[in-house]
């Protein structure tokens, strides 16, 4: 096991997407961007990403296809690609998900949850250790938004993630929108859940937009960030600090002014939370 410690400050970030290239290049105050590792080719970086590296922004490769929560061990080819992207952007760390994306030879097309059992923890821990051994930089793990949950959970999500982080020495990519979505959809208290996560192991934080449809909160990344999620940002920073907070927007891209306003709203929530912590 390699226990990694956070040695970086990322600041405010945004998920880099080709459609946001111009807006992110002009956005002031950004400290880092995240790139989907699978969207980067084997040779050249997208011009916008290369330009961000030149400008001194930190770049975090974010993997979506390792399927660390799957029954198969992560593929050496996929790991080599993630490692290569990390090296090419001089990344301080990379991130992936606590999820499976393929089974029985079929791809899900999206991140699916794993059972919260001792057995799943053991398989995940082994897969994470294989990934860590193949990567040149620390790995942060993100818990996912799950519309469906496995029956017979042996622990709650915060405990499961804490155990995994402790066993593997990996860091936490805390996604407050996923936390909000799971609490809302499965009927538990988001703030209480937040307090159970290993807040001293945060590599950075994700915030994304979503929408309510038929009584279900969908973590779409194609809508504005809902107030409940901004409250969680504030609550988190009132409890603990985190090296960075990143906005994810993947679809239905807003006008630039809206994106900038959303980044500002997140920064304001961070500031309010920090002020409460300092006063306390």
């Amino acid at each position: 096991m390699r226990t990694t410690h956070v040695t970086w400050q990322l600041g405010q970030g945004a998920g880099w997407r080709p459609q946001l290239d111009g807006a992110l290049a002009r956005a002031s105050g950004l400290g880092f961007i995240e790139v989907i590792a699978e969207a980067i080719g084997g040779h050249d970086l997208p011009a916008g990403v290369a330009a961000a590296v030149e400008r001194g922004l930190q770049v975090v490769p974010h993997g979506v296809s390792l399927s660390l929560g799957g029954a198969e061990r992560p593929s050496p080819g996929r790991l080599a690609h993630l490692a290569s992207v990390a090296e090419r952007v001089n990344a301080p760390l990379v991130s992936e998900h606590i999820a499976f994306v393929r089974a029985g030879g079929r791809e899900s097309g999206h991140l699916l949850p794993v059972p919260r059992t001792r057995e799943a923890l053991a398989i995940l821990s082994e897969n994470v250790a294989i990934a860590q051994a193949a990567l040149p930089v620390p790995l942060a793990l993100e818990h996912v938004a799950a519309l469906v949950e496995w029956p017979d959970a042996e622990m709650d999500e915060a405990t499961f993630v804490s155990e995994l982080v402790e066993r593997t020495g990996a860091l936490l990519l805390l996604d407050l929108s996923n936390l909000y979505a799971n609490a809302y959809n499965h009927g538990y208290d988001a703030l209480e859940s937040l307090m159970g996560f290993p807040l001293d192991r945060i590599a950075y934080v994700h915030v994304g937009g979503g929408r309510f449809r038929d009584g279900v909160y969908h973590d779409t990344h194609a809508d504005p960030v809902v107030p409940g999620v901004l409250h969680l940002v504030e609550a988190l920073f009132s409890l603990a600090d985190a090296p960075g907070v990143l906005l994810e927007r993947d679809d239905d891209f807003p006008p630039e002014a809206e994106l900038v306003a959303e980044l500002r709203a997140i920064a304001d929530a961070v500031r309010r939370g920090r002020e409460q912590r300092v006063r306390a």
């Binding site: 029954a71 029985g104 097309g109 398989i123 821990s125 082994e126 250790a129 469906v148 402790e166």
Partner: protein, 168 residues
């Protein structure tokens, strides 16, 4: 701090059973069928719809003319298709869209714009070798659109009018 079982080894049978359970759940989500025992059917239904909707959004973006032609019916139409047909192994939305459109051809005649889009999609998906394909277009007059793609030289399209104009 001591760390129990950091890289503990899991025996093969565990992984095999785990794989089977994940494959069972994934199958139910992709097909929109009854989830395995113990799962909440409404939650599994929402999760399955969400997977198919995400796949459909990517297809609509790759094939905008097709999405425009189906309009509000796109969602339901693609959902029905996706329940019965896995995404292509490549994962490419353009290839997915082409197969989806082929499944519709027997049901409804496709508009000229869609036929052009699909013909160009076929050319774009042919990564190696020569591509030659054609599609009949109806407006403003009946003609044959021929697309030829040559490695290293690019894509050429020519519109060939039908020899004898129809008298109508």
């Amino acid at each position: 701090m001591p760390c129990a079982g950091g890289a503990s080894s899991v025996s093969e049978p565990d992984r095999t059973a785990y794989a089977a359970r994940q494959a069972q759940l994934l199958d139910a989500l992709l097909r929109g069928s009854e989830p395995p025992a113990g799962f909440d059917a409404a939650h599994a239904g929402a999760a399955g719809s969400s997977l198919r909707r995400k796949r459909g959004r990517a297809v609509a973006q790759a094939c905008p003319a097709l999405a425009l032609e189906l309009g509000d019916g796109f969602g339901a139409c693609f959902d029905a298709y996706a329940r019965a047909n896995d995404a292509p192994a490549s994962g490419a939305p353009l290839e997915d869209g082409l197969a989806f459109a082929r499944s519709l051809r027997h049901v409804t005649p496709l508009d000229d714009d869609v036929r052009v889009e699909l013909l160009l999609a076929r050319a774009a998906l042919r990564r190696h070798g020569v591509f030659a394909g054609a599609a009949w277009l109806r407006r403003p007059r009946r003609r044959l659109l021929v697309v030829v793609r040559l490695p290293g030289l690019g894509t050429v399209h020519r519109s060939v009018p039908r020899r004898r104009p129809r008298r109508d």
